[in-house]
């Protein structure tokens, strides 16, 4: 099986999708002959031509508005927003248009073919505007699906599933792992399910839930916790909307403890939604309060990025506090 980094896996998924279906188009800022600032779309223009893989003018609201139109027409646009931090000029198109297209027309029209790819997250000394995790702005919007892969294998399978999904998907890519995450990825076409979490490690004492780049951080925390004799169950949510409550609840029934972690600020972050839903379903099974390990309620910093981030040490402390409650 070939080894790929996360970028190569994404490029490979786009290649398969474009090769299989002429209706699939990839576009965005610098996406054309240059192949994107991270090179996720490398060689796609050479292979499929300028009509199907191209640079757009520098206008995010235009990119997503254009993509909504294309999707409504029956094409399958895969639009890139260069950094998730720059998705906000397109917020109106995504929240008021993409998410409501099917509902408001009584299913006369839909933009289900649309996939929006955007690199997100910190840990790259990117400061306020190259580090944010804006997923919670979008999880508050019924009609969207939100998918976040944790590694190259997941990225390829989930991206292919997102492109073929009958609903619009925002696919947030953990850019810190673009080149850092390397793993075996099948050459052939495959899909991983949207809306299903994955238990990546079984355990009995405490459940850890995360997604994307945070899964690697959880892994490091779990190594430390297990040295203390704490058995951890780890769940990668993979899809944030609609999210797999059943898998998380089932795990918490067993462990009685839950730690949720994300890079985004705490207040209004998606961990809050998970905590609320799980206490509703698992109240009598809980042995300790559900813990959140998140960024602070501040803009994403630069010099003090390390202090801000929910790293493995903060997670292991939360695990210990949960178990010793």
């Amino acid at each position: 099986m070939p080894t790929m980094n996360l970028l190569q896996a994404i490029n490979n998924a786009l290649d398969i999708a474009m090769g299989e279906d002429d209706k699939v188009l990839c576009f965005g800022e610098d996406v054309g002959s240059f192949g994107g600032v991270f090179r996720a779309t490398s060689h796609l223009q050479e292979k499929y031509g300028r009509a199907r893989c191209f640079n757009t003018p520098l206008v995010e609201q235009g990119i997503i508005g254009f993509a909504n139109g294309l999707a409504a027409q029956g094409s399958v646009p895969v639009a890139e927003i260069q950094f998730a931090d720059y998705i906000f000029p397109a917020f109106d198109q995504i929240v008021n248009e993409t998410a409501k297209f099917r509902y408001r027309s009584g299913d006369l029209f839909n933009v289900g073919g649309l996939t929006i790819r955007a690199p997100y997250g910190g840990g790259i000394s990117g400061g306020h505007y190259h580090s944010q995790s804006p997923e919670a702005y979008f999880t508050h919007t019924p009609g969207l699906k939100i998918v976040v892969p944790r590694d190259p294998y997941q990225a390829k399978g989930l991206l292919l599933a997102s492109i073929r999904d009958p609903d619009p998907v925002i696919f947030f890519e953990p850019k810190r792992l673009y080149r850092a995450a390397v793993g075996e990825v099948p050459e052939e076409d495959y899909q991983l399910p949207i809306g299903e979490a994955e238990v990546t490690k079984e355990g009995t004492d405490v459940t850890l839930v995360g997604w994307g780049a945070q899964m690697e951080v959880i892994e490091r925390a779990v190594e430390l916790a297990e040295k203390d004799g704490i058995s951890c169950e780890v769940i990668d949510l993979r899809t944030l909307l609609p999210w797999d409550q059943d898998s998380v609840a089932e795990s918490v029934f067993k462990t009685g403890r839950l730690v949720v972690t994300h890079e985004a600020p705490r207040t209004g972050g998606f961990a809050g939604e998970i905590a609320a839903a799980i206490q509703e379903r698992c109240f009598l099974y809980l042995e300790s309060p559900i813990a959140r390990v998140t960024g602070l309620d501040t803009p994403f910093p630069l010099t003090l990025e390390k202090e801000y981030l929910p790293d493995h040490l903060k997670i292991v402390e939360a695990i210990r506090a949960s178990v010793n409650f």
Binding site: F34, L58, D297, P301, E307, E317
Partner: protein
Amino acid sequence: MTTTQDIHEPTFLAGDEFSIPTFRLLKQDGTLHEGAKAPDLEHDKALAIYRAMVATRVLDERMLAAQRQGRLSFYMQCTGEEAAVIGATAALDDADMIMAQYREQGALVYRGFTFDEFMNQLFGNELDYGKGRQMPIHYGSRKLHYMTISSPLATQIPQATGYAYGQKLAGEGHCTTVFFGEGAASEGDFHAALNMAAVHEVPVIFFCRNNGYAISTPSIEQFAADGVAPRAFGYRMHVIRVDGNDILAVYSAAREARRLAVEHNQPVLIEAMSYRLAAHSSSDDPSGYRSKKEEEAWREKDPILRMQRWLIDLGWWSEDEEKALQESLRREVLETMKRAEKRPPPPLDSLVTDVYADVPPELQRQLDALKTHIRHYPEAYPKGARSLDPDVQAGDDVAAKGGE
């Protein structure tokens, strides 16, 4: 409402009716074009402009090298566009507002931002006015009327319209100049800004640095029209296209634009034609999307060399002075860099201040929890742990001036 004559045939206009000329005064050899008249630019001011251009170039060269050595996380150069930025700035009153995109450090150099001030921001140390929160090159200076840089493109353009409207109401005779690239001009914010400025008769100068590229995207893939300038017609705004590598032309155009803005409350669009000689940023490698030959052709149009020749012809500058200036600037860059590198980062508490005017209780709780955590693992968070110890306080008289 339109008030044009009626026609009774479907005759379309293709837009090619608009042909916008380019204003040039200075040739590359340092002499004036035939029929061109140099602006009224006195000796001292001309040299201040020139020194700022050279200082910007030297700063950029040295800081890119520092980035390559791993001393700095990120850098962006103004190289090739010094005349556009500094010529426009020199035409303003020093109290006029500047809202830049991110490649306009030359404006700050001209207005007297010191190398120490540059370095403190670049290294995000405790003296950085921005408190180490933004990536390198995101400068700001209240005392120099230079709005702190924000990475999202074009957001500053409608803000400039609003700022300048406020200046008009204040009636103190000031205007705002907003810089942006031809790529950013594709954003919706650009169009909103120009329309509102024209409707509300706002003293704002929209200064477009058309440098040919938005990262890898060439301007021919950015717009089908003849540059950005023709858009002014759509908003009924004064417009001029200028050779951005011609310091005299930029200065003249910007000075006249300022007169229109301040005396007549007329917004103006200036499109300066130039070339981004350097990479987009230290993270970019242009060899993937443009040729060395193309770059070389533009290197021959170097705006600094062009002004230098003009100054030498006037007898206002010499090669000896050039050499001395370059050497002293290089030395100053290295000295200030070493000073800034050694300074500690901003204190941990700066993580939570300025989110609001006052720190809310929940955020204070988050900070307290973070401090407890860092006390537990001080070695894992050296920057944060440092300021937990009350004995470690890097006192400095420059610090007391901060935030200006």
